[in-house]
Assembly symmetry: C2
Homo-oligomer: 402 residues x 2
């Protein structure tokens, strides 16, 4: 018998009608003879509504109590979905995290699932559909903890791993993972299959179909994923180990992020610990540094360090750098109108000339490259923000993705 974990996100369960639609999907899968564990998010907008209530009380609302508050959102969806299934004559039952229990460790608002008991659920799987609120768990102290925004994906992957499910299907409001943003680039194509690490590069670069840490967990435990739409019958995107993927193309997708800013420190003393001294105070105030490029200066005694951050963090970052007594540099320059475009593909490493082809393509449309960063399956460049859509279109075309 096939065991499936089906996860439904916030927009998929955003109204009673949608919950009833989800119940029909679950019913169909169950009546096809599968054992079903369903994981649900809070109805769309609900989590923000609860967070706003807490903020009216305090900007620094107790993290323990925030977890008690937020976990109620998925509890509501679970009971409504189980009720909708029962109304369709399918036996179903909500298992709250403490009833299972699903164990977490780590801080409130940011914990990780480390294990789950299987006894009660395995017993019920032969009788009906299991419904579990995602995004939460129970600490070893017996407190409710939540596992961060988008954490229902992580719950689904953890359940798929712990219950040794044959598949983990992430139902969402898009058809799957696309070769680039289909809202901006109409020739974007749905990708049928993709490896975990390509998915990670694409998701962290803006294709927010799945929560990156959930993809990471799936990769670590080799849990096969499928991202598909709640609202159409189309095939989704299968995500699994790259060894099992037959690559015909060197590049799988083109990702981009906007609202970036670039800072360059010129003439930094070139000695051990300099980079740490620069980034440690930024890390302390949770400014996320994305690309970092260091090049050796001509005189061999100083170096230039370039990095990118979100545009909204620019002023704060400059202030911190200016007040940082630990580092010395000659000059600081910044550009707050930049963007990043990346080509991603597990086939890149085995295909010569991908780098050249990318640079050549950008040159043909007169796009100047401000910085470059590469990894095994990704090549990112920083360009002026005004060029971003043209660059994405060009790269999408020259790598045969249209």
């Amino acid at each position: 018998m096939t065991k499936k974990v089906l996860k439904f996100g916030g927009t998929s369960v955003g109204t009673i009608e949608r919950i009833q639609h989800v119940a029909r999907i679950v019913k169909k899968e169950y009546e096809a003879g599968n054992q079903i564990i369903t994981v649900v998010s809070a109805m769309s907008g609900k989590t923000n509504e609860l967070i706003n209530l807490s903020r009216e009380i305090s900007k620094n609302f107790s993290k323990r109590e925030l977890d008690v508050l937020l976990s109620s959102g998925e509890q509501v969806t679970s009971s409504l979905l189980a009720g909708a299934l029962i109304e369709m004559n399918i036996k179903a039952k909500t298992f709250l995290n403490w009833q299972i229990p699903i164990l977490t460790e780590g801080d409130h608002n940011n914990s990780r699932i480390i294990n789950s008991s299987t006894e009660k659920i395995n017993k019920f799987l032969d009788q009906g559909v299991v419904v579990i609120p995602g995004f939460q768990g129970i600490s070893k102290n017996g407190d409710i903890t939540t596992i961060g925004r988008g954490g229902s994906d992580a719950t689904a992957v953890a359940m798929a791993k712990i219950f040794n499910a044959d598949s983990c299907e992430i139902y969402t409001d898009v058809d799957g993972v696309f070769s680039t943003d289909p809202n901006k680039i109409p020739v974007a194509k749905k990708i049928d299959q993709i490896s975990y690490d390509e998915m990670l590069e694409l998701s962290s670069l803006g294709a927010k179909v799945m929560q990156p840490s959930a993809v990471q967990t799936a990769m670590m435990y080799d849990v096969p994923l499928e991202v598909k739409s709640t609202f159409t019958d189309r095939r989704g995107t299968k995500i699994f180990d790259k060894q099992n993927i037959d690559y015909t193309k060197s590049v799988t997708g083109v990702a981009y992020s906007k609202d970036d800013a670039k800072i360059t420190l010129i003439g930094v003393e070139d000695k051990p610990g300099v980079a740490a001294n620069i980034f440690e105070p930024l890390n302390k105030v949770q400014i996320n540094v994305d690309m970092v490029i260091q090049s050796v200066a001509a005189n061999n005694k100083t170096t230039d360090i370039t990095f990118t951050i979100k545009r909204g963090d620019l002023l704060k970052t400059l202030e911190i750098l200016n007040n940082n007594k630990k580092i010395k540099y000659k000059n600081i320059i910044h550009n707050d109108k930049v963007a990043k475009v990346s080509i991603v593909g597990a086939g890149m490493v085995s295909t010569p000339g991908v780098t050249y082809k990318m640079f050549q393509g950008l040159a043909e449309i007169n796009v100047n490259i401000l910085a470059i960063s590469t990894s095994e399956i990704k090549l990112s460049v920083i360009i002026k923000e005004e060029n971003i859509l043209n660059a994405v279109k060009k790269l999408h075309t020259i790598f045969d993705l249209d």
Copy 2:
């Protein structure tokens, strides 16, 4: 050290501002050196909102899942109140029912609290304020159960009993228990102290300040209650054993209910089991029968049975009576424009002439009595609905309650 249970109803916690106001009340009581267990309802309107969601899915929504759904309402209030206390530098913690646990028995949607562990709460009471969601508990199967509308009162009384609290204070949106409805009869006066059974008669007769079954539990275990307003500093109404009340008046209050209907079966066969045959089918469809009066007919072979029901149940009741083959009667008459007025007082039994005084008073204002029913501490009459306010005013005056 004094141990107090403080319960706050739905309107008292209906907005974030009100929750903050409640937190200030709790803080004051805590800083006065009391140990505090707080029990809260769902924010006003929330429970109905959740019930409506479930009804969109099914008119016959799973009772187990309804309990999962509804219990989230008090969970939200609890976390917000605990967060508001922490923001005011008071250590506070939500204890969800499964964390304590509070044990219930009986059906879903209608269970009873039978016990609660005390260990975790007693441990925390020395450190800070305990906040508990009312209206719910955990069955011996480990399911969430709820204890019926208004059940937060029952939670408060149960906690007061189990933790041997010195007082149980029910904070609500009125100043306390009144001698009659203050919204309709401006001369109504707040009652300073009242016995449990008078309170029961008054609350079940329309003074809906506290849930009757919670008052019953308090009476059974001699838990001293106080009903008071969240929104004023005025003294409330203390409710305790009548032995400790010094009665100066024979009548404590005048209650009334509207929207009643009266049915009389004339010429019913006078033999054992007749009343049961009449009322059993009504009970089956949950039609609540209030007063029942049986009088022996002149010929000693038949009897007349009069009873009252809610007006909305009249058509259904008549239909059931007409289709009931088990009983024989000559005629059936009904009046759908009646109301009930009652005088309540533990001092009545020791005061001669109360009955006469009531009938005399009603006669003076030309109010005809359609039926009479008495108990040890209550005297109820059925009258035409149009006379109800005049009757209540007159009785309030002649029993020195103005």
